[in-house]
């Protein structure tokens, strides 16, 4: 039983656990569902741990399902990238699970959909076949529609339907791109499509019509999967969906799902070798970051503000990935570093704000609620807020410094990233408004009767995430050296040199991050001023209609095809 044999276990395990949850729902044994879910997530984490040494010396593990070789059957690929993404998924779903146990208000079919979402994401990142990726994207999508609408409240249903329609249009374009790939290369497996479009060796002898339809296919596949990674033209579904979802679900969606979709885009573009589409992200990323931060500042609902931040941080990740077309694999290291750190501090923020809402029942920042929440919850929130604004001791600082060092040569993009950092700091100060202490502490506790106590499970998951954020920031070399660099090594740019991430804790970087925080504070004061808040309030009420959002998806396909080297 070689180690490569355990690859299908990574996918089979969550599916069997979800089967047991289905059984638990049928026999309505609630506790069984909880235990089974926790055991299966822990087991997949264990398997990933065992796979690390084998992966370290073999570089890449493959497993052909049913014994059929590549072009005929489907093959699972576990390279550094997939391993890092799976560990991120497993750790974060463990924390989200702990929080869900703490909240305790979920029946056993919640855990069924939770496991399906996890298994689907695992499948998307492991599979080497395009149509199989389509099937797993569908599993991820349907389980996220259901989980978003799980609380069956009015606006969660509407948010889930908006997301369903937008995502299905994206997936239809993915299928159309798949058709073009099969027509021009006769195979569906990602690793057999030669990098013939851009860098690859087969580029010379391709007839114009084949390379043209391959370029179009790359654009459509990128938009199809990119819609779930939520960069600007395709982000319209995310704020409503993540705000309406239950707390552990929005933490998992923001933390892991949009990252794994972006890594799928990464894999597709590496296989197609299309440099033009990748360099498109160099401009799209900073624009997304700035655009979403401005919208985040104008939000009054706390979870919607955080959701817009997910879009803006995805912009940063896309910008770093786009810069790789020029700066080589150093940019890929920065992008993957930010993927990891963002998944941790965004889940921490969503869960801590969720805990405050769970305890105080108040989610709107504007309302002068009298309710108060336990002060030590603020510590967890501050850990998340400091790392998202890129302040020194936390992992956000490490990855943001790496990303900003990529854009030294382009003044325009660099200023966009700096403004984003200032906007992020300002909106974190605005978000901290949710921790209002009402002066009359004694009265508020008494009159409100028994307030829901925060269970130790929630505290455990919050502290694990806070420690991860701190560890990522305090020892960056540990994380970068043996977690991220081997992962990027498997991409076609080769392993990056050590010089790039050598100097992170330099005086200049520290000064820069503190300056951004200070500017953020001043921006927050400006927003509180009557002129600022009136202008912002108008922006906050801006809503894009569903038809407009659908149209944006079609426009994105045309834009990616035309700008992405189709001509």
């Amino acid at each position: 039983m070689t180690m490569a044999e355990t690859l299908p276990l990574l996918i089979l395990l969550p599916f069997t656990a979800s089967l047991l949850c289905l059984l638990a729902r049928f026999l309505n044994r609630f506790l069984l569902a909880q235990i089974v879910t926790a055991v299966s997530v822990a087991a997949s984490l264990l398997i990933l741990g065992l796979l690390l040494p084998v992966l370290r010396d073999q570089g890449m593990l493959t497993y052909s399902i049913g014994g059929w070789p590549e072009p005929l059957g489907i093959t699972l690929y576990l390279d550094g990238l997939a391993w890092t993404a799976s560990v991120m998924g497993a750790v974060l779903s463990l924390c989200a699970l702990l929080f869900a146990f703490g909240e305790g208000s979920y029946r056993s079919d919640f855990y069924f959909f939770f496991l399906m979402l996890l298994a689907g994401m695992e499948g998307v990142i492991l599979t080497g076949d395009l149509f199989n990726m389509f099937v797993f994207i569908e599993i991820v999508s349907i389980s996220s529609y259901i989980l978003i609408a799980y609380s069956l409240t009015r606006n969660s249903l509407w948010a889930s339907l908006r997301y369903l329609l937008l995502s299905s249009l994206g997936i239809a374009f993915f299928l159309l791109g798949l058709f073009l790939v099969y027509r021009s290369t006769g195979t569906l497996s990602l690793h057999l499509i030669p990098g013939s479009f851009g860098l690859g060796e087969g580029a010379a002898n391709l007839p114009v019509s084949v390379s043209r339809s391959l370029g179009l296919a790359a654009a459509m596949l990128t938009v199809g999967v990119g819609l779930k990674a939520a960069f600007v033209p395709l982000h319209t579904w995310l704020p409503a969906a993540h705000a309406a979802a239950p707390h552990p679900v929005s933490a998992l969606l923001s933390g892991v799902m949009i990252k794994i979709s972006f890594l799928a885009v990464w894999r597709i573009l590496t296989a197609f070798g299309s440099i033009e589409v990748q360099s498109l992200f160099r401009f799209l990323g900073p624009f997304t970051a700035l655009f979403a931060v401005v919208l985040a500042l104008s939000q009054t609902d706390s979870k919607r503000l955080l959701a817009y931040h997910s879009v803006s941080q995805m912009g940063l990740i896309a910008a770093a990935y786009g810069a790789a077309s020029r700066a080589g694999s150093g940019a890929l290291v920065a992008s993957l570093a930010h993927i990891l750190s963002h998944s941790m501090f965004k889940s921490l923020l969503f869960l801590s704000v969720g805990a405050v809402i769970h305890v105080s029942g108040e989610r709107d920042l504007e309302k002068r609620g009298r309710s108060s929440s336990p002060p030590w919850l603020l510590i967890f929130f501050l850990a998340g807020a400091f790392s998202i604004s890129g302040l020194p001791p936390f992992n956000g600082f490490v990855s943001k410094t790496l990303i900003s060092s990529l854009f030294k040569t382009e003044p325009v993009l660099a200023t966009a990233l700096r403004l984003t950092a200032v906007g992020t700091a300002a909106s974190m100060i605005k978000l901290s408004g949710i921790f209002r202490w009402s002066g009359k502490r004694s009265i508020s506790l008494g009159s409100e009767g028994e307030k829901p106590r925060l269970s130790p499970f929630c505290i455990a998951s919050l502290s694990v995430l806070a420690l991860l954020c701190l560890a990522g920031g305090v020892l960056p070399r540990l994380v970068l050296e043996n977690l991220i660099v081997p992962a990027v090594g498997s991409s076609k740019f080769g392993t990056p040199t050590g010089s790039l991430y050598g100097s992170i804790y330099t005086a200049r970087h520290l000064a820069e991050s503190l300056a951004y925080a200070a500017l953020g504070g001043m921006l927050y004061l400006f927003i509180r001023s009557p002129f600022g808040s009136r202008w912002l309030r108008r922006l906050g009420r801006l809503r894009l209609s569903l038809d407009g959002a659908l149209l944006l998806v079609v426009a994105a396909v045309v834009m990616f095809a035309v700008l992405g080297g189709y001509l």
Partner: protein, 138 residues
């Protein structure tokens, strides 16, 4: 829905043949056009014909949704068991561990025949459940 006598009589006579045709599609899936999905859909269309002719309440007394749900979970368990069995036997995950038999005979394609049956059951119960709950909703 006012059930007219003629529709009720004809559908009660027709349903067994539709079920038989569905079973044929499933069991001959590897020899002639057909297979698990198509057979399962035909099976559920038979049950839906009963629904349309005699109303959802009468049919769901015959096919109680709890039993259909149990059948669906059983089919899903069987499928996962067969998938894992290939791995346990040492062939490979989802690999064919049964002998192929003589080509052209019914029991010939080894693994594929049983997978067809499991999928037929799965799709049949799944689509019936979906239509029951959606019909009951309106």
């Amino acid at each position: 829905m006012k059930e007219s006598k003629i529709v009720d009589l004809v559908s009660r006579k027709l349903v067994p043949y539709i079920l038989l045709f569905g079973l044929y599609l499933i069991s001959y899936g590897h020899l002639s056009p057909g297979g698990g999905f198509q057979g399962g859909t035909v099976l559920s269309s038979a049950i839906l014909l009963l629904c349309l002719s005699r109303g959802v309440e009468a049919t769901s007394r015959l096919f109680t949704s709890r039993a259909v749900n149990a059948l669906e979970i059983a089919a899903f368990t069987l499928f996962l068991a067969m998938a894992a069995a290939g791995m346990a036997v040492g062939v490979s995950f989802l690999g064919n561990f049964l002998p192929l038999g003589r080509i052209g005979e019914v029991p010939s394609a080894g693994f594929i025949l049983f997978l067809n049956m499991v999928i037929g059951l799965e799709v049949g119960t799944g689509i019936t459940l979906i239509c029951f709950s959606l019909l009951r909703e309106t």
